[in-house]
Structure formats: structure tokens, C-alpha cells
């Protein structure tokens, strides 16, 4: 069953089109990862889906209810975690939880039960009396998630919940997401981390407000057209620009190394002369298997 359906959504801010004919569906009990550069339209899309932002054309339905006309039916089914930490820093962990429980109309017995369950899997129990402002980044995000789980939502929309969180906390956070999926939740999550995209059931690549490609991570990776080479050399911005000026080849900085993308109709040997000019040779290059990120970069370059 499709729990979230977005069809041909358009939303612009003045002359800028933030979301452009975007469509997306999410099946029950799946994790959909939304990935794209900053300004691609992820947050606009999420805010529209959560009834916080109007949109010009298109439609959004959640659990069969229309966001524009039946949002009151959606509220109890939906959990939304905005990009920035948005709980009350001066309230303790337990007070934050209890406040949301109150908003969703939980009675005391239900809350205590729910609290125990949430403390168990989030490890927040030991910090119950600590003020939210004194929590670590990872703990804050877990608390924000817990506040959104208090009413057993069927659909969770999480806007970059792990950005800036340490790797261990990120993994723990995703363990929770997987458990929630197992329990039947539908999760749409945006993330800048490729390793997290790989954990999702479906990934959607958004760029300039458009759905550029979607599918399982493997399927997306397979979309890459051409070959990838890795060059273990400290990248130099002039060098990258010079390579990008050549036809059929492009270069990207990847941390402390460089990647070269070569179109399928070209051979690495075609650029032998150019390489020697930049101070390296064909032998310094190693062909590697394209990764998800390489696909995204290629899609962005084609756009």
C-alpha cells in the first residue's frame, strides 16, 4: 500500500522554482532516502508534505488523506522532524516527551508505557532529568525522534536528522529507523551521507527541485554511464578546471584524492598527452567501480 503519494508538485518562491513537477511514492514499511545538494528543494518538499507550506500545483496524499483539505486527519498519523533541533532546550528530556504526549492526547498510563519503550531503545532513560540543551548532538536528535514517536505515527518525515552527528550516533539512529520500519512505519528521510542512502529501500535523487532518478541504491548505482578512475594525488583546483575543459572527461575532488569520469565512447589513452602536461601519467590512475555518489555527480552534470 502506498502511504505517501506526491504527484507533480510545484512550489516556487517568487522567480525561483524550489520544487518542480516532483513526484514520489512511498510504500508502507519502507525507508525512502532523499538525497541532493543543498538548495535542491528537500526541505520545501517536506514542509509542503507536512502542511506547513502551500503549493501551487500537484497533490500530496498521506495515508489516503489530502494534505490541503484533510490535514486534520493526517496530523495524528504523521511525525515530522525539522532540519534544526526543534524541542525546548530549557525543558528536560522527560518534560519534552510529556509535552508531546499531552499534545497527542495520551493519558498518564499510556505515556508511562510509551516512555519506557522509548527510553529502552534510545538509551535516553539515563538522561531523563537532563535539560535538552545539555544533551549531545546525537542524543538531541534521538530525543527529537522520540518526541515524534510518542503517538505511533504511520509516516515519519525526517529532514536531515543525522547531519553533523558523530558516526556512531548516526549508526544507532539508523538502527532505530530500521526497527521502526520493521514495526510498519513508513519513513522518508533526507540525508547528505551516501552510506545512509545505501541503507534505504528506495533512494530518490533530487536536484533543482526535480526527481532526477529513483530506485534501489543498486539500481541507481548501475545508472552510471562510463568509467571512473581514481588518482591519488593532492587535487589542485587549476588542474581540475583544466581537465574539465577537455571533452569527454571530467574531474572531481574527493577528499584528498581526485576522480576522473570518462564517457563510454572515450578511452583513457585519448588523454595521455594532456595528463603528462598536468604532471601525472596513465599508470597513476586506477579504475574503480562506480559508486552511488558518482551516479549523482553524473546526473547533476547532465542536468
Amino acid at each position: 500500500m502506498r502511504l505517501v503519494e506526491i504527484h507533480d508538485l510545484c512550489r516556487s518562491y517568487g522567480a525561483i522554482t524550489a520544487v518542480n513537477n516532483f513526484s514520489l511514492t512511498a510504500e508502507r514499511a519502507t525507508i525512502v532516502a532523499l538525497v541532493g545538494p543543498d538548495g535542491a528543494g528537500k526541505t520545501t518538499l517536506f514542509r509542503a508534505a507536512c502542511g506547513l507550506l502551500g503549493f501551487e500545483t500537484g497533490s500530496i496524499t498521506i495515508a489516503g488523506f489530502d494534505v490541503k483539505t484533510q490535514f486534520n486527519h493526517i496530523k495524528p498519523l504523521l511525525g515530522y522532524m525539522p532540519q534544526n533541533f526543534s524541542l525546548y532546550p530549557d525543558l528536560s528530556v522527560e518534560e519534552n516527551l510529556s509535552f508531546y504526549a499531552g499534545l497527542f492526547g495520551l493519558n498518564r498510563t499510556d505515556f508511562n508505557q510509551k516512555k519506557k519503550y522509548l527510553y529502552d531503545f534510545s538509551n535516553l532513560g539515563q538522561f531523563a532529568d537532563r535539560r535538552a540543551e545539555a544533551l549531545s548532538g546525537g542524543m538531541k536528535q534521538k530525543l527529537a525522534l522520540c518526541c515524534n514517536l510518542i503517538h505511533d505515527p504511520q509516516v515519519l518525515i525526517l529532514d536531515e536528522p543525522t547531519t553533523g552527528v558523530d558516526p556512531l550516533s548516526r549508526r544507532q539512529f539508523w538502527d532505530i529507523l530500521k526497527k521502526l520500519r520493521h514495526d510498519g512505519s513508513t519513513i522518508i528521510v533526507s540525508t547528505p551521507y551516501m552510506d545512509e542512502v545505501a541503507l534505504a529501500d528506495k533512494s530518490v535523487f533530487i536536484f533543482n527541485g526535480k526527481n532526477m532518478a529513483e530506485g534501489t541504491p543498486d539500481k541507481l548505482t548501475a545508472l552510471f554511464n562510463g568509467r571512473v578512475y581514481r588518482l591519488d594525488m593532492v587535487p589542485d583546483i587549476n588542474q581540475i578546471e583544466s581537465i574539465n575543459a577537455l571533452r569527454g572527461i571530467s574531474a572531481r575532488r574527493f577528499g584528498s584524492s581526485m576522480r576522473l569520469y570518462i564517457k563510454p565512447e572515450r578511452e583513457i589513452a585519448d588523454y595521455r598527452a594532456a595528463f603528462s602536461q598536468f604532471g601525472f601519467s596513465e599508470n597513476d590512475l586506477r579504475e574503480i567501480r562506480p559508486e552511488l555518489e558518482d551516479t549523482f555527480i553524473q546526473l547533476m552534470e547532465q542536468a
Binding site: R47, L52, P82, F85, L87, Y88, D90, L91, L103, F104
Partner: protein, 379 residues
């Protein structure tokens, strides 16, 4: 309704935990009451008076003593020189110089024994008073006090039906015969503080939820915008009443401000005024996205006009016409008339219904605009 209660309880916790807002809410009213009660004192006392007594008689000394015993004047820091009495004013050693020419005792004697003589000669004995006009308030006060004291002195020596030419009749001031400024300030202060608590703090607290993003969380949970707003302002209604009563308490019991009207009526009108102020606060919060902006907007739209354009300090009838028009949309203008009326003149509903009705009208208008704007934002 229980959701409103939840939001209100949470809001109350915020107030208790935020030392700044707690300070504004509780310490500031007390501080301002004492500040206006003591420091910002418009009563003119301790006027430095220098005396040049050329008459040197029992009567002239009696008059001088009357000045110094009045409580308004005390001795100048330096004696004036007979050749240049103005000098002590220039140096700031005195605010006023009283000059008694020779013949004062003789004049008094003439009036007492044979008043008819005075009219025949049509000569008026005048007492000189040099005033330092650079402090206009002190000068004006000293001038009128001086006239009062002379009148009193003459009255005690002349036959009761005697009219003495050339003596000023002092103005009679109703309701506040002592011209004590605390009687005016304490009721006015309540109007200012209530506006501050209600409009400033509520607009800040709503803007804070917007700034931190928690407003989005609230709006995606099953509560209506109306419930959010009501829940958030409830604690501030309580706080505003608490502050109003606190200032009233210090005003009446510490500064001796009379309270001649009905306290129930005052609390009732206070409720209407708080509602007006809260509506203004909510309206500001629909415009302001951050706490900083909310604070600035609230200062400019509420606190400033309440202080300057309500008759709190400056009399409305002395303002230019367009400012007078502005004072009519300032809620504090009406509440000030109400609270001064109830406290000092024991006015009742019969005298104050128009002010109350206007306040209600302003509240309804503000709420209508605020609700409309809030909906637009969400849609």
C-alpha cells in the same frame, strides 16, 4: 481544552526557567515602582533659597522663617551679596533669592492698623524674588510656593475679610492638592507594566517558537493554532494580574496613593486592558519572525506609545494635534483614564463606560487582524 492546559503549563515552565523573563516579570515592576516613586520625582522640594533681608525687623525674620519651615525651601549654600544678588544664582548656590526691601514691617503695621491708608497711597509693597529660570520646573514651583507662603503670612496678620492688592492667588489643584507625583505615576505605571508583560513578553515567546522551529512541530501535531495561542498567553494573563496587584500594593501601602474607588471594578477593567495588550502582542508575533524583531516591534508599537502618548508623563492636551489623534488608538490612554479615575476620583462605571467600550473595540479589532494574519501564515 486539556491541550491548551498542556501548552500553558509548558509556557509557565519556560517563564520559571528563563531568568531573564522572570526578572522582567517580577523584579522590573517593583524596581520601576520605586524608581518612579522616589527618583523620578516631579515634586519640587529642597529649593535652595537665599535671602537678602534689608528690613531686618521681627516681621521680616518671621516671614523668612516661614519659608524655611515650609519644607519646600532650604538654606542656600552661600549668602547673597547685597550689591550683586544675582551672583548666587549664576554660580548655582541658590535656585531663588528672596529680597525684602526696607519697610516690610511698616507696611504690615499700616495694613493692620489702618488699611484705608494703603489704598489712599495706592502704593504696593513688593517682595522681590529672583528665580533661576534655567530649571523651569524648579522656577515655576518656587514662584508659586513663594506666593502661597506670602499669602499665608499675610492671612495670619490681616483681618480675615481684608483683600491685599498685588498678591497672587494660588491655583487650586483638584484631586492631588499636594501635587504629589506618585499619585499620578503609580496608576500610570500599572498601565505601562501590564502592556509590557502582556504585549512584549507574549510576542517574544511566540516569536521564539518560530525562531527555534518548535512552532512547526506544534503545527504538525493535533492542536489548532488557536489552542497554541491561547495556551501560550494564559500564563501571561496571570502574570500581568500578579504584577498589576503588586504595583498597586506598593503604591497604596508604601507611597500612600489613595484608592478611593472599587477594586473589583478596577480588576475587571484590568482584564479588558490585558486582553487588548495580549492581542497587540499576538499581532506583533505574526509579523516578527525572530525574538529580536519581536522585541523591537513591541517596544516601538506598545511600550513607547504607552509611555509617551498616553498621558502617563506628558499631558495629551499639550500635544500637537496629530499626536493627539495618535493617542486615541493607544490602549494605555484609555486605561490610564480608567485607573486614575477609579483610584483618585472614585469614578465608577457611569463615568468610565466609554473608555471601557473603546478598549473592547480596540481589542476586537486587533484580534481580528491578528487571527487573519496568523491564518495567512499557516496557509
Amino acid at each position: 481544552m486539556s491541550k491548551v492546559g498542556h501548552i500553558a503549563r509548558k509556557e509557565f515552565r519556560h517563564i520559571l526557567r528563563d531568568s531573564r523573563s522572570l526578572l522582567i516579570a517580577i523584579l522590573m515592576p517593583i524596581l520601576m515602582t520605586f524608581l518612579y516613586g522616589y527618583a523620578v520625582n516631579l515634586d519640587i522640594k529642597n529649593i535652595k533659597l537665599a535671602v537678602l533681608d534689608h528690613d531686618r525687623t521681627f516681621e521680616s525674620r518671621e516671614l523668612v522663617n516661614k519659608y524655611y519651615n515650609s519644607g519646600y525651601f532650604h538654606y542656600a549654600e552661600r549668602e547673597p551679596s547685597p550689591s550683586d544678588p544675582e551672583r548666587v544664582l549664576k554660580t548655582g548656590h541658590a535656585n531663588a533669592v528672596l529680597i525684602i526691601k526696607p519697610g516690610f514691617s511698616k507696611t504690615i503695621e499700616t495694613i493692620r492698623t489702618n488699611p484705608a491708608n494703603l489704598f489712599v497711597n495706592s502704593e504696593v509693597y513688593d517682595i522681590g524674588l529672583l528665580l533661576d529660570g534655567s530649571d523651569a520646573n524648579v522656577a515655576a514651583a518656587a514662584g508659586s510656593y513663594a506666593a502661597i507662603i506670602v499669602n499665608e503670612y499675610l492671612a495670619s496678620h490681616l483681618p480675615p475679610d481684608m483683600e491685599f492688592p498685588g498678591v497672587e492667588i494660588s491655583k487650586q489643584v483638584l484631586y492631588n492638592p499636594d501635587l504629589k507625583s506618585s499619585h499620578f505615576f503609580v496608576p500610570g505605571l500599572i498601565a505601562i507594566i501590564l502592556m509590557m508583560i502582556s504585549a512584549l513578553l507574549t510576542s517574544i515567546t511566540i516569536a521564539r517558537e518560530k525562531e527555534t522551529g518548535t512552532m512547526e512541530q506544534l503545527l504538525t501535531s493535533p492542536v489548532t493554532p488557536r489552542q497554541i495561542i491561547i495556551g501560550k498567553v494564559l500564563p501571561y494573563i496571570g502574570l500581568a494580574f500578579f504584577d498589576g496587584i503588586l504595583i498597586l500594593f506598593f503604591g497604596v501601602f508604601h507611597f500612600g496613593v489613595p484608592f478611593s474607588g472599587s477594586i473589583i471594578l478596577l480588576l475587571f477593567f484590568m482584564g479588558i486592558y490585558i486582553a487588548a495588550a495580549l492581542s497587540l502582542g499576538v499581532l506583533i508575533s505574526t509579523i516578527a519572525k525572530t525574538q529580536q524583531v519581536a522585541m523591537m516591534a513591541a517596544m516601538i508599537m506598545t511600550v513607547l506609545p504607552s509611555v509617551m502618548l498616553s498621558g502617563f508623563i506628558f499631558e495629551i492636551k499639550n500635544m500637537p494635534y496629530f499626536l493627539q489623534l495618535l493617542t486615541r488608538i493607544v490602549p494605555a490612554t484609555y486605561f490610564l483614564q480608567i485607573i486614575r479615575g477609579i483610584m483618585l476620583k472614585s469614578s465608577g462605571l457611569a463615568e468610565l463606560w466609554l473608555q471601557a467600550a473603546t478598549l473592547i473595540l480596540i481589542t476586537v479589532a486587533l484580534l481580528a487582524i491578528a487571527t487573519k494574519r496568523f491564518k495567512l501564515k499557516i496557509g
